[in-house]
Symmetry: C2
DNA sequence: ATATTATAGATAATTAGTGTCCTTAATGGG
DNA sequence: CCCATTAAGGACACTAATTATCTATAATAT
């Protein structure tokens, strides 16, 4: 059915809320916030850390914080961090049979430029990614700040402040 | 991992080869051509038929043929026919918790415009689809005719002619 | 009538996605 | 130094989606 994994959604939810905080925040709080499981969200954040989107500090008062300005983190970065970078179209290389119905092994060996069908799909994918590369976390944060009701934003802010103070 | 199903690949392989034929061709031949299973390919073609990309005639000398000019069939049409039209990002609606950490049930009821994260993902998806809408089967066929070696093209043509004659 | 071919449904096998649990390692505070 | 806390990683379980097979049925040309 071809869709992004829930991890992408979890990650974006968390990241956009991490922005205003200036201290590390732990998985426990982030999980509680969204009502999802700690253990699973933890896996997600390990991926984000490996992609250097967040930085982790273990131990008391530890947690996660952004490694760089949210202006420099794009939706694309997050998607790739979570989903990996395998292209959405993977040629099963039926071509040897499909377009020659025979050999062509010679050409198969050299891993040359992929066939037209493959290339077209990958280009299409790039269109999507180019768009996602333009959308930064900062943009998301700012646009939400404009779109959401002050009420909700305030409640939200309070919730995180309370959590940070508790630690 | 977010990728197109193999069905899309099977379908494109078949369709681009159906173009030059002016008679119905059966699943058996198309499956043999690609070296994939008849039963599975048959499911794929049922989907293509439902999407009115191909037309089927059962019985002796039956098979599939295009319903319309390959100029009017796009990669997008094929992808949607096979994969269905569910968007690639499906909000799990954690927002009630995520951005309000409370109620907001009122707003949940009205199925209004989706939130910014969701919208952004869907726009990105559209970028990909817009690209695929521009690529027609005819374009694929013609570009392949230019790119592939005359040798391969000829072998290819012969294979299908032989099959058609056998019926 | 018969052989051929598509359609549909049931079901199996395989793989990917989601989620839990437990152990280890790092860290700060007492 | 010891302890509570937190992230990281591995092993595993569960679920859902994908890919594939098989069988029965209906339509069709000869
Ligand atoms: S995608 Fe291209 S190379 Fe790959 S099997 Fe299909 S036609 Fe061949
Ligand atoms: S995608 Fe948007 S509406 Fe859906 S849960 Fe995430 S933030 Fe909420």
């Amino acid at each position: 059915m071809m869709n992004f994994s829930v991890g992408v959604e979890y990650a974006l939810h968390c990241l956009v809320n991490i922005i205003p905080l200036n201290r590390p925040i732990g998985i426990k709080d982030l999980a509680e916030f969204q009502g999802v499981s700690e253990s699973y969200l933890s896996k997600i954040f390990t991926k984000l850390a490996k992609a250097r989107i967040v930085q982790s500090t273990p131990g008391v008062k530890g947690g996660y914080e952004l490694t760089k300005s949210p202006k420099k983190i794009t939706f694309y970065d997050v998607v790739i961090a979570i989903e990996g970078s395998q292209p959405i179209f993977q040629c099963k290389n039926i071509i040897a049979k499909a377009f020659t119905n025979e050999a062509l092994e010679a050409e198969e060996d050299e891993d040359e430029v992929p066939c037209l069908i493959n290339r077209t799909m990958l280009e299409a994918e790039q269109q999507m990614y180019n768009f996602l590369k333009e959308k930064t976390l900062m943009w998301l944060r700012e646009t939400l700040d404009n779109e959401l009701s002050p009420d909700i934003l305030e409640k939200n802010r309070e919730w995180f402040q309370k959590k940070l103070v508790q630690n």
